[in-house]
Amino acid sequence: MIQPMAHIGRPELRTMPGAAPAKFQVDSLSFFYGKTQALKDITFQIPEKRITAIIGPSGCGKTTLLRVFNRMYDLVPDARAKGSVVLDGEDILTTTKLLLLRQKVGMVFQRPSPFPMSIRDNVAFAPRLLGWKSTKISEIVQQSLERAALWDEVSDRLDAPATSLSGGQQQRLVIARCLAVSPDVILMDEPCSALDPVATLKIEDLMVQLAHDYTIVIVTHNMQQAARVSDFTAFMLMNTDHRYGELIEFAPTADLFNQPQDSRTEAYITGRFG
């Protein structure tokens, strides 16, 4: 077949995994809560400066997988991981530089979690505790809010309590707060599930914008959202015999939603699963 001209549309959407440099290299990752296995042998690569969505039915281990990427699972006693997850040449499963890791890998949660302080202080909170210069900090506050597409809405009331913002604004504030410590990666755990459709679309647009500079990994319950925003999609499923989560298919989103390779993926995305 002839390829008469440069590929039309969004060429980045069509790149196969590996074409973009990998940010996380996940290699035969297994995960355990105490004696129960939650994830088994997950291997894939999360491309840099792309949006990667992780989808699958409840209980498939999506969130567990996400929480491996910034070692959030350390909060759970008895949680253990096997295999390796390499970020910038370092295996994050064995690293002891936890604080640095988490600075580098920001996270946004399901429910907006503004700190009970002013908008400005929310963004400046971590930089201050990290001991950065206060002149630099006010610059960072503005920058981060701008990047999170919130500056225009709050620039005239930076000292208002963060809780006075709407749900969608709060979530963007949380994103700005992440950006303030200059992360490379932003993990998002169902960031829109507590928001209404309007606020959801705003966050989605923001994600697309941010993907120019950051690697974004999003876990979502909402298949359509994954389809809308992500460049790559990982589909996970709980193994019915052993009840651990498995990675069924990982592909560019357009391919996964148009031509899934695995029949289980097809069943799930067309709503015929179960």
Partner: protein, 284 residues
């Protein structure tokens, strides 16, 4: 009567009865407040009531200044011990609450809340009064501190737990160390709740009689020395109420009124603070 009519009727009756019982339950409160006020006011209205110390029966102009100061000193010392320990323990329960040890701590504090206060008095007596060979405010403070401790622990825990998990995780996800997140982010957010809890604990300690019976023991003379016996308000009420002397009974009612007013102020005040706290936490 049709079945539905009967159902409506019986429901209405039950509703009425239950509201009536609720009203009935409030009668004692009204009566206590009324009698404390009506019988205590005559005593309280003399200014010397607040400036003079206790006097034996027959000597007019007796007051409770020694008891008020005594209660203040004893509760103050107890707070100094109980509050930091209680708050830190509460934080531990909230932060690491799923561990086995935490559930033991929690059970122990809950049980301690229900422990008979007089037993705490016996304990303090055995630990401090016996070796010292005399009563002391210090021993009373020990008993009161133990009394306060579980209240502070549990209110701190519930105030901190009220702060959504997302806040803590967000803090950690920013790469901040755990102690900073806990003390500089979570605790300030939970502060109103914690303060409320400590105030309630203070109010409870200030109103307790049994633990000070044979620790602080009471002292008719104004004293600031924590190693000696010291007067306290509840003790004044208890002792003087049981005397047959009208003037002492009068002082007892006056002291009771002071206690009641203090408790009401702390309770209603902290309720207001707490409601703000809950509303705030709800927004987080």
């Amino acid at each position: 009567m049709t079945r539905n009519a009967w159902r409506r009727f019986s429901s209405g009756t039950a509703l009425t009865v239950m509201y009536a019982l609720t009203g009935l339950a409030l009668v004692p409160l009204g009566l206590v407040l009324w009698f404390a006020a009506s019988k205590g006011l005559p005593a309280v209205l003399h200014p010397e009531f607040f400036f003079n110390s206790e006097r034996p029966t027959g000597f007019p102009g007796g007051g409770v200044s020694n008891a008020i100061v005594g209660t203040g000193i004893m509760v103050g010392m107890a707070s100094l011990a109980a509050i930091p320990v209680g708050v830190l323990s509460g934080i531990y329960l909230a932060e690491y609450g799923v561990s086995r040890w935490a559930s033991w701590v929690r059970l122990a504090s809950d049980v301690l809340v229900g422990a008979p206060s007089i037993a705490l008095g016996l304990f303090a007596y055995a630990v401090i009064v016996v070796p010292q060979q005399h009563f002391s405010a210090l021993s009373a403070s020990l008993a009161l501190a133990i009394l306060m401790l579980p209240v502070v622990i549990r209110t701190t825990e519930s105030a901190v737990v009220l702060i959504p998990r997302g806040l803590r995780e967000s803090g950690l996800a920013l790469g901040l160390p755990r102690w900073r997140v806990s003390l500089q982010l979570i605790l300030p957010a939970a502060a109103p709740g914690v303060i409320t809890g400590t105030l309630l604990a203070v109010a409870r300690a200030a109103g307790e009689t049994a633990p000070v019976l044979f620790t602080g023991f009471g002292n008719p003379i104004f004293s600031l020395d924590p190693t000696q016996a010291m007067a306290s308000l509840p003790l004044v009420v208890f002792r003087d109420a049981l005397t047959p002397y009208k003037d002492l009974q009068q002082v007892a009612w006056g002291a009771a009124l002071v206690l009641v007013v203090m408790v009401l102020i702390i309770n209603l005040g902290s309720r207001w603070v707490l409601r703000r706290q809950i509303r705030l936490a709800g927004q987080l």
